[in-house]
């Protein structure tokens, strides 16, 4: 209720301010808001986390279920990442089947994690050709004050880092017993840079993002790999700006990784 939401209607004013290098909350253009990670927010999840990025608030939970492997990878488990913009989080979110924005977010976060090869899918095999673990990661928004992409990526990774693998006995999951943690070889994180009023801006609030021309998300790992890109919005970036965005993503990714 405290956010100056009427500014949403005044995109010219937002762009003008950013062009001058100013932000409504006095941050520098490349500065993130305070990040808070709360682990284990749901006992029924195999792993879970809640991430607050300023007033943006998301939760993610992991469930491991026994499924059948794909015929072309009979000895590999898999992950599946979903996202839902819960209507509790914003007056603009509606209940109902997944919409285009949710699908994009889930797929970008998914690519960042999957392509980093941080999870050894072979280790998720229970019996070849028959049974494998499928790790479902579901992301839910609690409050949308902008930059849901980055908050969701941090939440998904934090939940996976917490996740435990259930014990299997006579082909059945033993409730409440685990064989150990899900091993992650890397910590891929997605950091998004927005272009607003001709400037590159990190971690915009909801109001700031209303003045957006384009955004560019880059997933990076601690060993300097790039694992996913996603350009969004109807504006464009110059090759030089893309390089700047990548630099920013490495820098912020490193800082956020220290909080995990």
């Amino acid at each position: 209720m405290q956010s100056d939401a009427s500014l949403e209607l005044r995109t010219d004013r937002i762009r003008e301010m950013i062009t001058q290098g100013n932000r409504f909350d006095s941050r520098k253009l490349d500065e993130y808001r305070k990040i808070e990670i709360i682990k284990n927010i749901s006992e029924n999840a195999e792993g879970s986390a809640r991430v607050k990025l300023g007033k943006t608030d998301v939760v993610a939970g992991v469930k491991l279920i026994v499924g059948t492997p794909y015929p072309d990878n009979p000895d590999e488990g898999t992950i599946s990442i979903g996202a839902e913009f819960l209507p509790i989080a914003s007056p603009f979110f509606e209940a109902g089947p997944p919409k285009i924005g949710e699908t994009e977010l889930a797929r970008v976060v998914d690519r960042g994690i999957r392509e980093s090869k941080c999870i050894d899918f072979k280790k998720l095999c229970i019996t070849e050709n028959e049974k494998v673990w499928i790790a479902f990661v579901d992301i839910y928004t609690i409050n949308d004050d902008g930059n849901l992409f980055d908050a969701s990526s941090i939440a998904a990774l934090s939940a996976l880092l917490e996740a435990k693998v259930p014990k299997i006995e006579d082909d059945k999951i033993v409730k409440g017993e685990y064989t150990g943690k899900l091993h992650l070889a890397r910590k891929p994180l997605l950091c998004t840079t927005y272009k607003i009023g001709g400037k590159l801006v990190s971690d915009p609030t909801f109001v700031e993002a209303q003045g957006m021309d384009a955004r560019f998300s880059v997933a990076t790992t601690e060993d300097n790999y790039l694992t996913a890109f996603q350009k969004g919005g109807s504006g464009s970036f110059s090759p030089k700006e893309i390089d700047e965005c990548i630099d920013l993503s490495f820098r912020h990714g490193k800082a956020i990784r220290n909080l995990l």
């Binding site: 956010s3 009427s6 209607l9 005044r10």
Partner: protein, 204 residues
């Protein structure tokens, strides 16, 4: 004066009293319908709610934002359940989408849709949001608080009854800080003097 925090369904008075806002009568007793503050000694039973949306009333001065141009007029967001409407008959200049305007509520129909008149464009400046229920404290008795705010911040201010405040010039950050402070302490007494001291202390 004795004031108490009440929640919906709390008893305000068992006696007959004049009925003010945010109370209801059941079996001859008066109860609160909102989370808010009740003055139990007052001859009028009423509650000042903590939160609430703006309910347009005739003669209210409001600050709005033009959201749409239609054939006969403009749609203006006024922080209510509905946007309000101003007919082109009543305005000389053409309004731009996104423009900030001040205006007066001319009529409200039975489903709370408002028509706005006396529209003036406010050039430049910022809109700061507050809760409509806190607006009377922002203005104060005989506009005393408004004067203190204007003097203390050097800003040109227009406080809309709908909870939107237009500010231009002066120390805008101090205006925002002052508004947030009044919101927090709206239920405390002697607020005008406190704010005068606060603004003096924080003036650059």
């Amino acid at each position: 004066m004795s004031k108490k925090v009440v929640i919906p369904g709390d008893l305000i008075s068992e006696e007959r009293k004049k009925i003010g806002s945010h109370v209801f009568v059941e079996d001859g007793k008066i109860y609160s319908d909102s989370l808010g503050l009740a003055n139990t000694d007052s001859p009028i039973a009423s509650v000042v709610p903590l939160h609430g949306k703006y309910m347009p009333q005739i003669q209210d001065v409001i600050v709005g934002i033009v959201t749409q141009e239609t054939f006969g007029g403009y749609i203006i967001a006024i922080n209510s359940f509905y946007s309000s409407f101003v007919s082109k008959e009543f305005i000389r200049e053409r309004l731009q989408k996104g423009a900030i305007v001040s205006g007066k509520i001319m009529s409200v129909n039975e489903i709370n849709e408002a028509e706005v008149g006396h529209v003036h464009v406010l050039f430049g400046g910022e809109i700061i949001r507050t809760s409509p229920v806190k607006v009377p404290r922002m203005i104060g008795k005989n506009a005393s608080m408004l004067e203190v705010l204007k003097k203390g911040t050097g800003a040109n201010l227009m406080i809309g009854r709908n909870g939107w405040i237009w500010a231009k010039g002066g120390d805008i950050k101090l205006v925002v800080a002052a508004i947030r402070k009044i919101e927090k302490e709206a239920h405390l007494s002697d607020l005008t003097n406190k704010m005068e001291a606060f603004l003096k202390e924080n003036k650059k």
